[in-house]
Structure formats: structure tokens, C-alpha cells
């Protein structure tokens, strides 16, 4: 191995690590606020990437129908309550957001030739389709059992994951897709060739991390989420609705997931079930951060990415084994250094 190969592997590792870092942040966020171990996080990566691929191919992505179906479910769950509390006006608002909005998207994609739009507009459209799925899934699957134990929430997560993978096969088919690159540029830095797309991935990840830090540090909603994460009961007493916190968290998680998918789709072929493995590697990073620390999770993600790149060079058949074995020393170390707190049921 010479310096050039090491640098190329390092670049590859950091690019993948940046995606894992985003997912790890989302996992930590969701766990901190709602105690949900969000296994379907990776599915949003696949949904984002494949929805964009279908828009590029000029086809109507199945995810808008899922959005519509989820919207109908939300209205069925919330409609009566809204009518009782706020009258027809409030009901119309619920119906408008959950059914009117998906219908508008369907109409837009049906009648406007979105495949000729510039890439940025397509990405925005993808986000508009995939991101609202997050809060809807929270409303339908998690909110009814929000007070249940972590184990039950985990079981719900597994169910949501299996359902989302199955739906993805139905929507996108068994074969993979790639999308066109954000930038075809490549730069030569010393002996190394840096592709424009990796810069996009790393740059966007950094920008998103900064944006999240600002959101949590400066805005009232961000502070509310942080308060909920620190002390759920206390936050509730201060008038922060746990349902709102949950929906907001899942929206952020879906946003991060879908954006990761859009970023990675030009450099890797994405399949309906790719998301799970990517999400799992993000999860390893989140575990390194103890499902609590954002900076350690992000660093852990870079470590996972780099380790993956180098092990694919030295022992390609054992790559996944090496990456997932990393979790064992990390768990040993964590259990030795941190004191265990019984979860209050």
C-alpha cells in the first residue's frame, strides 16, 4: 500500500462516513427525544434516492401514493378530535395538510413534466414527497404507544421497517437505480483525484450538522426538543407537547435520511433494501456515541467509514464482519466507563 492508495481509500471512507454521520445524528436525535430506536431510518435513504431516480426517469414515484395513504390514516385518527376541539376550520386544516397536500403533489407530477426540471428542483420535489412521511409514520405507528417501554417501541420499529422495505419493493422494483451527479467536476490535489460529488456529500453533511446545531441552540422548537430529550416529564410540565416533539423529530429524521439518499445516489447504486445496511452502519456510529452524544457519534461514523474502506482493501470478504465487530469493544468500553441507569417504566 502506498500513499496514493491510502489517500484514495481515506477519501472514500470519509465520504461514506459523512453519510453514516448524518444517519447517526438522526438516530441519536430520535432516541433522545422519543426513546425510539429508529430502525427504519435507513429506509428514508432508499426512499429519497429512488424517488429522485423515478422523477428523473419521468415516472410517478409510488411514494406519493404512500404519502396519500398515510395522510388518510392520519385524518382517520385525528379528524374527529380536531372537529371536537376546533370545529370545521381545524378539521379542514388537518384534511388539507394530510390529503390535500399529497393530492396536489400527485397532480403536479402527473401534469407538469417534472423530469425536465433542473436537478435542484427535482431534489426539492423529492424532499417534498418523502419528508412528510416521517411525521405521518410517527402519528400512525408510534404516537399511540408513545409511553410504552423501549422494547415495545423497538418492536414497532421492526414492524415499520419490514413494512417500508416491502412497500419499497412494490414501488421501485427489485433492480437498483442511480441518479445523475450533482457535479461531474474532479480536482487533482497532489497525487489524489477528488471527485466533485464527494465534496458535495461532505460539504452538505457539514452544512447540515451546523444547521442542526443552530436549530437546537437558537430556535424555540429546537430548544423544546432539547428539553424533551433531557427530561420528558419536565418538558411536558413546561407546556411542550410530546406529540409535537415526536412529529418534529421524525420530520428531521426523514429529512436527514432522504437528503443522505439524494447525496449518495449518484455514487452508489441504491436498491429498495439498501437503506437497512446503511442505517445499520449509522447505528454502529450512534452506539459509539452511546445514543446520546452527537459529536462522538459523528466521529464514530467517520471511523466506521474509514475502517470500511481500508478493510475492503485488505480483506474484502470480511468487510462487514470487521465493521460490525467494532461494536463489541465499543460496548465493552462503554459498559466499563459509564454507570448503568435503570430505565423508569
Amino acid at each position: 500500500m502506498d500513499l496514493e492508495i491510502a489517500m484514495l481509500l481515506g477519501q472514500d471512507g470519509v465520504t461514506n462516513g459523512a453519510i453514516y454521520a448524518l444517519l447517526a445524528l438522526a438516530l441519536v436525535l430520535v432516541f433522545a427525544v422519543t426513546r425510539v430506536i429508529f430502525i427504519p431510518q435507513g429506509e428514508f435513504v432508499a426512499y429519497g434516492a429512488l424517488t429522485l431516480a423515478m422523477i428523473e426517469a419521468g415516472r410517478l414515484p409510488g411514494t406519493v401514493w404512500l404519502l396519500l395513504a398515510a395522510g388518510v390514516l392520519v385524518v382517520a385518527l385525528d379528524g374527529l378530535d380536531a372537529l371536537r376541539r376546533g370545529g370545521v376550520g381545524r378539521l379542514m386544516k388537518v384534511v388539507g395538510w394530510n390529503i390535500g397536500y399529497p393530492l396536489a403533489l400527485v397532480a403536479l407530477m402527473r401534469f407538469v413534466p417534472t423530469d425536465s426540471w433542473p436537478l435542484a428542483a427535482k431534489v426539492a420535489l423529492t424532499m417534498a414527497v418523502v419528508v412528510p412521511l416521517g411525521p405521518m409514520i410517527y402519528r400512525v405507528a408510534y404516537q399511540p404507544v408513545a409511553e410504552a417501554s423501549v422494547l415495545i417501541l423497538l418492536i414497532v420499529s421492526v414492524a415499520v421497517h419490514v413494512a417500508m422495505v416491502g412497500l419499497a419493493l412494490l414501488f421501485f422494483g427489485a433492480e437498483g437505480s442511480r441518479t445523475s451527479a450533482f457535479s461531474d467536476a474532479s480536482f487533482t490535489v497532489g497525487p489524489m483525484m477528488v471527485s466533485g460529488q464527494s465534496l458535495w456529500v461532505i460539504g452538505t453533511s457539514l452544512a447540515l450538522i451546523v444547521a442542526l446545531a443552530l436549530f437546537f441552540g437558537r430556535t424555540i422548537y429546537g430548544k423544546a426538543l432539547r428539553a424533551t430529550a433531557i427530561n420528558r416529564a419536565g418538558a411536558r410540565l413546561m407546556g411542550i407537547s410530546p406529540a409535537l416533539a415526536g412529529r418534529l423529530t421524525f420530520m428531521l429524521a426523514a429529512l436527514i435520511g432522504a437528503l443522505s439518499g439524494v447525496l449518495i445516489a449518484p455514487i452508489a447504486t441504491i436498491y429498495y433494501d439498501t437503506g437497512f445496511l446503511i442505517g445499520l452502519k449509522g447505528f454502529v456510529a450512534a452506539i459509539i456515541g452511546g445514543l446520546a452524544s452527537y459529536p462522538i457519534a459523528a466521529l464514530g461514523a467517520i471511523l466506521v467509514g474509514v475502517l470500511e474502506a481500508f478493510s475492503s482493501f485488505w480483506a474484502s470478504a470480511y468487510k462487514e464482519v470487521i465493521v460490525f465487530t467494532l461494536i463489541i469493544p465499543v460496548l465493552v468500553w462503554r459498559s466499563l466507563t459509564s454507570h448503568h441507569v435503570e430505565e423508569d417504566e
Partner: protein, 383 residues
């Protein structure tokens, strides 16, 4: 959805006719229409809808189950098909592990089974259990021989190998390394990657550093495009070979310009229209392509569905012979169907001409493969 409909329709049909006309032929099918092998299983499942519903005046019921690419489910399926649906013949499954697991059940109940999976282990050697088992896809060995011959003819001396880190990649490695060794091809690198990997930079750098004349990528479907794209990006200028596992149009779509010039062996159905007029497979392959494309759209055909078509063709040819020996639904009919399958000669399918014998339950010869090159985003037969 479609599977369920078929199953419900078949179940209703069964309930309706049972007793009254017990002589219907029941065909049980287990395909991997979901799970990792879905890209193979879906065209197979589609193809089954094109098979005839009457053979020699007898009504044929198809009971189609999905095994989700899972071995346990495949065994459960074949048990259900045999014990509850009383099928006369089983078609399936899509992949090798499932098919191997189903052999025991088929042999135990003395029901003929036609597999659509590639490994030669499914029918070789023809022993007490495998007497009941037939298969339609070409052996990997036949395909590997074609690749090695092409490499030697093209003056390739050193070759690098990258394959799936699963049974497919390992199977190819075994076959390919043995044949390459015999033909004095030097293998200078041997790498693995996973179907779901998002990057193969490490493996590709290692292959590239070994400077082989040619590289064989042993992957199936669109995941096989990733190493090729990475190799091109690194500037690899040697020849690249793929296996017949990539022979569908989704692969061309994903791989795009990076796959120009790639060589692969494939069943003749892939290039049915380019086969010379005197090729005996031309007409039967074209028949399948036109039927499939009429039902599922232009350009939708893949070679995998062809294996299901061939399984159906074998059955359609064997049933009239077996009917002379007994009524469908009886052990005599099943035994006669097995004998009839074994006695099939010169049956033209989508992938070749089948000549079965008591020692060969595949029956394909050299006519079942052609070398194909990707040119201008299409498959072009190498003369």
C-alpha cells in the same frame, strides 16, 4: 398482488372443480418474487402467466407461491403444494439454496420437480433423490468455460476476479479458477463485495494495482455494475467480463456508458433476433420474447424469465406422454411424468435444445450459450 390473485383464483378453481373433475393437472410453483432474488423471481413469475392453461385437452391449474428468497419458506411451500394442493409437478425455486432444500421433499413424495436455479449440484449426480429433479438454466461451468475460451482466444494472460460475497460469487470462483488454471490463465487478484455495498473502491484499487489483462465480475443484476463503474473511473483499460447473471435491461440502464465493450456469456434468448436463421433455438427463443413483450411491454424481457419458460416447455412436452400412463393426481401419473421428462429429446426452449437422459437432467449443450458484447447500450452477439 398478482401472486395472491393467482393463488386465490387457483384455490377457488380447485374448490369448484374438486370431486367433479379430478383429472385437472395441478402445477405447483415456488418462485422468489420478493427478497434478494426478486429481480430473477419477478420475470419468472410473469412468465408463468404465459404458460398454456390446457395441455392435451386437460385443464392445467397453476398454484403460485412466493418463497421470498428464503430456504425455509421454499420448503414450507413445496410441502404445502404437495400435501394440500396435491400437485403433479413442482416448478421452482428461483435460487440454488432453495432448490437444493426442496429436493428432499420432492423425492420423498415422488413428485417431479423442475428447478429454475443455476447450480449443477441440483441435478448432479442423478442419484436416488435427484431422479425426481430436473433443471433448466445452464450450469455455471458451461458459462465459465465460454468465458475462459474467449479470454484465451483474445490473448489474455492474467486475470483479476471480483465476485459477490455469497454462494453466487463463490460458485463462480470455484468453477472459473479451476478452468482458468487448466487453460494456463494466471489469476492475479481475487476480491469479494456485497450486493448491497455502496462502494468497492478498496477492492478496485487492489485489482487495478495487480494490472491484469482482463477482469471478471461475478455478480448478478444491477449490483454487478458497481465494480465496473469504479474500474472505469480508475481508468482500467483492460477487458471486462461479466457473467450471465447481468443479462437484463436494468443492468444496461444502471451501468450506462461504463459498460461499453463488456463481454459476457448468455443464453441465446438474450439475442434471439441476432441468431443466424439456421440456429435451432432462434424460433423458440423468438416465440418466448414476443409472447413476453406482448404481455409486459417492449424491452421488458430478461433471460431469467426464459428459465421459467423452459421449465414450462419441458412440462408441456412431457405431459401428453405421461397422460397415457395414468390420470393426473395419481402416483402413477407423477412417476410417468418423471419418466417422460427424462425421455425428452430435441425440445427447443428459449435457452437451448434439451436432450434429457438418465444421467443428465439438464440436457443443454453448446447451443445453449453465446458470447455477447455490450455495444451502444445493447446486447450484440459475438460471431
Amino acid at each position: 398482488m398478482k401472486i395472491q390473485k393467482t393463488v386465490v383464483a387457483a384455490a377457488l378453481g380447485m374448490a369448484f372443480v374438486s370431486g367433479a373433475a379430478f383429472a385437472d393437472i395441478n402445477v405447483g410453483v415456488s418462485v422468489s418474487a420478493t427478497g434478494p432474488a426478486a429481480s430473477l423471481g419477478i420475470p419468472e413469475k410473469n412468465t408463468l402467466t404465459l404458460l398454456p392453461t390446457t395441455i392435451a385437452g386437460q385443464k392445467v391449474n397453476y398454484i403460485v407461491l412466493d418463497d421470498a428468497s428464503d430456504t425455509t419458506t421454499a420448503v414450507k411451500n413445496i410441502r404445502k403444494l404437495i400435501s394440500e394442493d396435491k400437485v403433479d409437478v413442482v416448478i421452482g425455486s428461483t435460487i440454488t439454496p432453495n432448490s437444493l432444500a426442496m429436493i428432499d421433499v420432492a423425492a420423498e413424495s415422488k413428485t417431479p420437480m423442475i428447478s429454475m436455479a443455476a447450480s449443477s449440484k441440483i441435478v448432479d449426480p442423478v442419484d436416488e433423490k435427484r431422479r425426481w429433479v430436473f433443471k433448466t438454466p445452464q450450469n455455471d461451468q458451461q458459462m465459465a468455460t465460454a468465458i475462459v475460451s474467449h479470454m484465451v482466444d483474445a490473448g489474455v494472460k492474467t486475470v483479476g476476479f471480483i465476485g459477490f460475497a455469497d454462494a453466487y460469487g463463490e460458485g463462480w470462483w470455484e468453477q472459473f479458477s479451476a478452468i482458468a488454471d487448466a487453460r494456463k490463465l494466471k489469476i492475479v487478484a481475487n476480491e469479494r463485495y456485497k450486493r448491497s455495498d455502496t462502494s468497492v473502491t478498496g477492492q478496485v484499487l487492489k485489482l487495478y494495482a495487480a494490472k491484469p489483462d482482463a477482469i471478471l465480475i461475478a455478480g448478478a443484476g444491477t449490483p454487478a455494475a458497481l465494480p465496473q463503474k469504479s474500474l472505469k473511473q480508475r481508468g482500467f483499460a483492460g477487458k471486462i467480463y461479466q457473467t450471465h447473471g447481468v443479462a437484463n435491461n436494468d443492468f444496461l440502464r444502471v451501468c450506462g456508458a461504463d459498460c461499453e465493450g463488456t463481454f459476457l456469456p448468455a443464453g441465446p434468448v438474450l439475442v434471439a433476433d441476432q441468431l443466424p436463421a439456421d440456429n435451432p433455438v432462434r424460433a423458440s427463443a423468438q416465440e418466448y420474447v414476443s409472447k413476453y413483450e406482448a404481455a409486459f411491454g417492449k424491452g421488458s424481457v430478461s433471460t431469467f424469465g426464459g428459465h421459467a419458460w423452459d421449465a414450462g416447455t419441458l412440462m408441456v412436452n412431457a405431459v401428453p406422454v405421461a397422460l397415457k400412463a395414468g390420470q393426473p393426481g395419481t402416483p402413477e401419473f407423477r412417476a410417468a411424468l418423471r419418466d417422460a421428462l427424462e425421455g425428452l429429446k430435441e425440445v427447443a426452449g428459449a435457452h437451448g435444445i434439451f436432450n434429457m437422459s438418465p444421467t443428465d437432467h439438464l440436457g443443454l449443450d453448446q447451443r445453449s450459450r453465446v458470447m455477447v458484447q455490450i455495444k451502444g447500450g445493447a446486447w450484440l452477439m459475438v460471431k
